[in-house]
Amino acid sequence: MSDDSSGFRQDPVGALRAWWTDAERADRLVYTAIAAVVVLLTVGVAIGSIGIRYVAGLLVLVAMYSLLTTGLNVQWGYAGLINFSVIAFWGIGAYTAMLVSSANSPLELGWHPAAAIPLAIVAGTVVAVFIGIPTLRLREDYLAIASLGLAEVVRLILLNERQWTAGSQGISGIPVPLSWLPFGTRTAVLLIGAVLLLAVYLFVRRIHRSPWGRVQRTVRADEDLAEALGKDSYRLKMQAFVIGSVVMTLSGVLYVFYAQFLGPADLLPLETFYVWVALILGGTGSDKGALLGGAVIVLIREGTRFLSGTAAFDLLQTGLEVVGILTHINTASLRLFAVGVLIVLVIRYRPEGLLPPREELIWPDAKRRAEVSGDRSAHGDAPGAVAEPVPETGSDDEGEEK
């Protein structure tokens, strides 16, 4: 993720060391944790206690959730839009793919799954514009409320329009593109996920650093100011909302290749809040943080599953049964509780997240020029190096007017 690729080629060790010393303390902690998880998984696979298929599945889920957090980051992190229907856009993408490509789809189209991607993009755009028109001109909380409703309505339609969506029965089986490659379906899905995520990541990082991204941050920090400068904030919000929603639908397409089954029960509202936790924890407004967030969700899900199989959990259960309270404790309710408490704790103690956006918002060129002029400590303040001041998006929450 380093931008100094030319420097890296000349002196890889030195560049790495510089990157490490440049990184903030919190960043280093996160990188160490990621390295530890990677090492643990590799060792686990090497000694055979973790199946490689399981690891590949986890990685697909990480890619899927990272796409969701990246999409939400474009909406909430860049533009300050509160979208509580993440799972609905994911479902729109997933259902589009299933309906046009699955052999068991009630529509019986049998198209090539690659056709699903442009269709999912169109469907996501239409729904995003539909919900955006009434709400994006108004205060942030209107979108929050309307999107909560949208999620419910999408689920109701998928559940009740049996003749088109197969209803609660769900749809199973979808051909996986690239599955003719010699290394199995799961790996093909992983490949698709990795390519999709990389493409989306490069795209959002590019637009985030562009003038468009800068104006977005200005609108988020002070909408009146942006309007006074002649920026059409409604239009900008709509663009961010549509881009984010489209990324979410792509995540849904990826999911059906992996899961090979889809039903309305997959559209749990809780999934939306997983994505919120992940993004805030990862670092609102940070593209790297959004990627980390995807891994965090998988960690929460697998962690709670692992936890509920341990002896300590059994002991807790027995203890609670003796006392006579919380006797119905299980993985599902524990997850719900963990997500809820995490949201409260992160907003209170670390609202900027684990990897808040700092240097990643500065053009690499500008940074290099600032470094040449010998002013390493104040990248953002070097006159002429950065055309516009970079607002610290991580602390916007405190800066906004009540």
Binding site: G149, L156, R348, P351
Partner: protein, 302 residues
């Protein structure tokens, strides 16, 4: 048939009105959209259920027009519990938080999930109901008007009227009510005028959550009790508050009534099945946002 739907609508509206008032109070005085409001209702409903055996033992087994008196005791316990939970949450979660309205909004989602998780852990995910006999229709109403009204319906509607009337009296004729209205109007000015805003916020939570608790108990009486009940109602309550105009308590009452009616009158609309009554409320909300985003009574003081 439409007359019957209107009766159902009045019963359902009573529940939505009680819930909308609390949400609107928090919106205007606490200044944020409280997504934990629905789950506060569920807390009230479940605590009332849990307290039922105890209350039954204390309150004499008297019935009023075929409806047991102890239920009102359980109702009060549920309301008190919801209020206590909300005040504790205010002290533990919201007050130490130095954040904007949006930070509070997102935090309230966390609070909502935590409430629901605890209810699931304590009571399990299944459906339950109050140990009140179903009772039949009231015969003379059925013969006179041709609609079926049960004792439960009467209890829900009349208790709601009593609660809303007391709230109105409190807001208009007591010092606390004046303070609350002042703070809803302009919190800074209220503080400068010497109003202890912290105390008003606690009063807001007590009143709002107690009414939500009552709404939850009535919803449980009207339908069933389960941990998701409040969260599922949240969209309707928000629709009601937006319809009435965010921050206007009287608007919330009006909006609650309209949304409750729309919800129950859905079967009267051709081509739309009852499975879509939540969707109808959603479309009503979208339409209001397009036409009159400030709501019916938006902009007016509470």
């Amino acid at each position: 048939m439409v007359a019957q739907l209107i009766v159902n609508g009045i019963v359902y509206s009573s529940i939505i009105v009680l819930a909308s008032i609390g949400l609107s109070l928090v919106y205007s005085i606490g200044n944020f959209a409280n997504f934990a409001h629905g789950d506060t209702m569920a807390v009230g409903a479940f605590v009332a259920l849990a307290s039922a055996p105890l209350v039954q033992a204390i309150v004499p087994g008297v019935t009023i027009a075929g409806f047991p008196l102890w239920f009102f005791g359980a109702l009060l316990v549920g309301m008190a519990a919801a209020a206590v939970v909300a005040v504790v949450t205010e002290y533990v979660v919201y007050r130490p938080l130095d954040s904007s309205a949006i930070g509070l909004l997102i935090t309230s989602i966390g609070v909502a999930l935590a409430y629901r998780a605890l209810l699931l852990m304590q009571f399990g995910p299944g459906q339950q109901s109050y140990p009140v006999s179903r009772g039949g229709r009231i015969p003379w109403v059925e013969s006179a008007l041709g609609v079926s009204v049960t004792a439960r319906d009467v209890v829900i509607v009349f208790s709601s009227i009593v609660l809303v009337a007391s709230l109105h009296a409190m807001l208009q004729y007591t010092t606390l009510g004046r303070k609350m209205r002042a703070m809803a109007d302009n919190a800074e000015l209220a503080r400068v005028s010497g109003i202890r805003t912290g105390e008003v916020i606690i009063a807001m939570w007590v009143i709002g959550a107690a009414l939500a608790g009552a709404g939850g108990v009535f919803l449980g009486l009207d339908t069933i009790i389960r941990p998701r009940m409040g969260f599922e109602l949240l969209l309707l309550i928000f629709a009601a508050v937006i319809l009435g105009g965010i921050g206007s308590v009287y608007g919330a009452m009006l909006g609650g009534f309209a949304i409750g009616m729309a919800h129950e009158l859905t079967p009267a609309i051709p081509f739309i099945g009852t499975e879509y009554n939540a969707a109808v409320a959603f479309l009503v909300m979208i339409a209001i946002l397009l036409v009159r985003p400030n709501g019916i009574l938006g902009g007016d003081a509470t």
